[in-house]
């Protein structure tokens, strides 16, 4: 498999080359259809990685390529979701979902003509994350978990090839979080989409990912790359096996060393 997302010797600093380094000599590659998780101590430049891979920031050294193309502008084939659902309160859930289609081509120019198609697609997507018929509600009428599901749907509505998740479940309670792990797992399995998940939660990383990258403290680079060979489909029960806890334990050891 060729690399779908490739960062090669990337250094990035905020405030120009002389500023504080966020990442230094960062190399990482994610194959097409792979689920990659990036973990690390806080402030290790995980969010910078997100911005570099989606073309919101450009490194002063090294190269970033997505889908075989060097990244010189926003990539447009990526969907993003963050810890905060950032839904627009003046739009219904369904209208929030349609927002990316109002921006990205070719949907943008087809929106008026194919409105019914797009609405149907949005409703199907909502149903696939367990939000059937919730499209008419406003975001503030939904629970935190439901808002985050909506945010995921918004990231997926334009059928991106790459899904970038920045601690998407960080603000949710433990049970809702595990429920949403299942949602993401199923979306990944069904759509064969490439996913890069940035997280603090090692159990989340091990449960969801094919490979976990451990980053160092700032300036961030990849310290360890760990393949997770737990067979799919994975059930939540897997998190109670010794294979799972051993992996989490091992990664935790790396993080502890990274913090020193």
């Amino acid at each position: 498999m060729s690399a779908f997302v490739a960062l090669d010797g990337v250094s990035h600093a905020y405030g120009g080359a002389g500023g504080t380094l966020a990442v230094e000599d960062l190399s990482l590659s994610v194959a097409e259809g792979e689920f990659a998780a990036v973990v690390g101590p806080s402030g290790c430049g995980k969010s910078t990685l997100m911005k570099l891979a989606t073309g919101l920031q450009f490194p002063f050294k090294g190269e970033v390529a997505v889908a075989g193309q060097q990244v010189t502008q926003p990539v447009k084939i990526a969907g993003m979701a963050f810890q905060a659902p950032t839904l627009l309160p003046w739009r219904t859930t369904l209208e929030n979902l349609l927002l990316p289609l109002e921006i990205v081509e070719p949907h943008r120019s087809q929106l008026r003509r194919r409105k019914a198609d797009y609405v149907a697609r949005a409703e199907a997507l909502l149903a696939s994350v367990g939000l059937d018929g919730q499209g008419v509600k406003y975001p503030w009428e939904l629970s935190g978990g439901m808002q985050q599901r909506t945010s995921l749907c918004r990231a997926l509505i334009h059928e991106p090839q790459l899904l970038m998740l920045d601690e998407p479940f960080g603000a949710l309670d433990a049970f809702t979080r595990e429920e949403l792990w299942g949602v993401i797992r199923d979306l990944h399995a069904a759509r064969k989409i490439t996913v890069v998940l940035v997280t603090h939660d090692l159990r989340e990383a091990v449960f969801l990912a094919d490979r976990v990258f451990v980053m160092s403290a700032r300036p961030g680079r990849v310290l360890v790359e760990r393949k997770i060979d737990i067979p799919r489909p994975r059930d939540l029960e897997v998190t109670f096996t010794s294979q799972f806890t051993d992996l989490v334990h091992e990664l935790r050891g790396h993080i502890v060393r990274a913090r020193q």
Partner: protein, 257 residues
């Protein structure tokens, strides 16, 4: 929208009545002369006696206020969007605007008179000058507080700055904008009355000035009451407009029902 209990709805009327009753009682009790502080009944009588003049001048004041206010809305909205659009423009204009806002508008009226003569135009312009600032600040604030994550989501899709402005910036600014109108309309009213008091032959401000010259103290107070009533009506109109236009931003009101 939030109906509340009967007590809450009656309270404003009750408090107003109590205030006037107390006023009347104090004036009578202490035998305060009418030329010093007229009782509400004398003010009401002045209202009746001078109704044509009060009415005519109120209409004049209201129209200068509304025209000045309309100009402030247009200009304030425009300038707020411009300031919110570019950080350079923001940095450049902000000190200028603050400096301008610090100038007491009463000091500007003589200049306006010099340019435009007395009467209608200085009143409109004073109303405009005094009331556009809060609109600018509020619109710019609304734009400045867009969540950076949301901006990232849209930028990563290739959204232009104009897209982000249209889809997120402007809708998100509306509650700030409509909120600022309540402040702006009251200020516009103050502006036109100031200008009328200094340099006009019309308007409630001028009416009060003439009443003072003729020592008709109840009429001065009738002018004040007329101003207060007009101010309340205009504020209320803006509050209703705000509630209608930005329902989504007033969720706490819904939650109570």
């Amino acid at each position: 929208m939030n109906s509340g209990s009967l007590g809450v709805r009656l309270a404003p009327w009750l408090f107003t009545v109590v205030m006037f009753v107390l006023w009347e009682a104090i004036v009578r009790l202490f035998n305060i002369p009418t030329f010093f502080l007229p009782p509400p009944t004398a003010i009401a009588q002045a209202f009746v006696d001078f109704w044509p003049a009060i009415y005519r001048n109120s209409v004049f004041t209201l129209s200068t206020t509304m025209i000045g206010f309309a100009m402030a809305v247009g200009f304030g909205l425009f300038l707020g969007l411009v300031v919110g659009w570019s950080r350079t423009i923001y940095a450049g204009l902000y000190p200028l605007m603050i400096g301008f806002n610090a100038i007491p508008k009463v000091a500007v009226v003589p200049i306006l008179v010099l340019w435009f003569g007395i009467g209608f135009i200085p009143a409109v312009l004073t109303a405009f000058l005094i009331s556009f600032f809060p609109i600018v600040v509020n619109v710019a604030t609304g734009l400045a507080t867009i969540e950076p994550e949301l901006e990232d989501v849209l930028k990563a899709l290739g959204a232009s700055k104009l897209d982000i402005m249209r889809k997120v910036g402007i809708p998100r600014t509306l509650p700030y904008f409509f909120g600022s109108l309540k402040v702006a309309i009251t200020l516009a009213f103050v502006g036109s009355v100031i200008s009328e008091s200094i340099a006009s032959n019309y308007g409630i401000g001028n009416l009060m000035l003439q009443a003072q010259a003729q020592f008709q103290v109840p009429l001065i107070f009738a002018g004040l009451v007329a101003l207060a009533i007009e101010g309340i009506v205009m504020y209320w109109a803006m509050a209703v407009l705000e509630a209608r236009m930005t329902k989504w931003a007033q969720r706490s009101g819904f939650a109570q029902n």
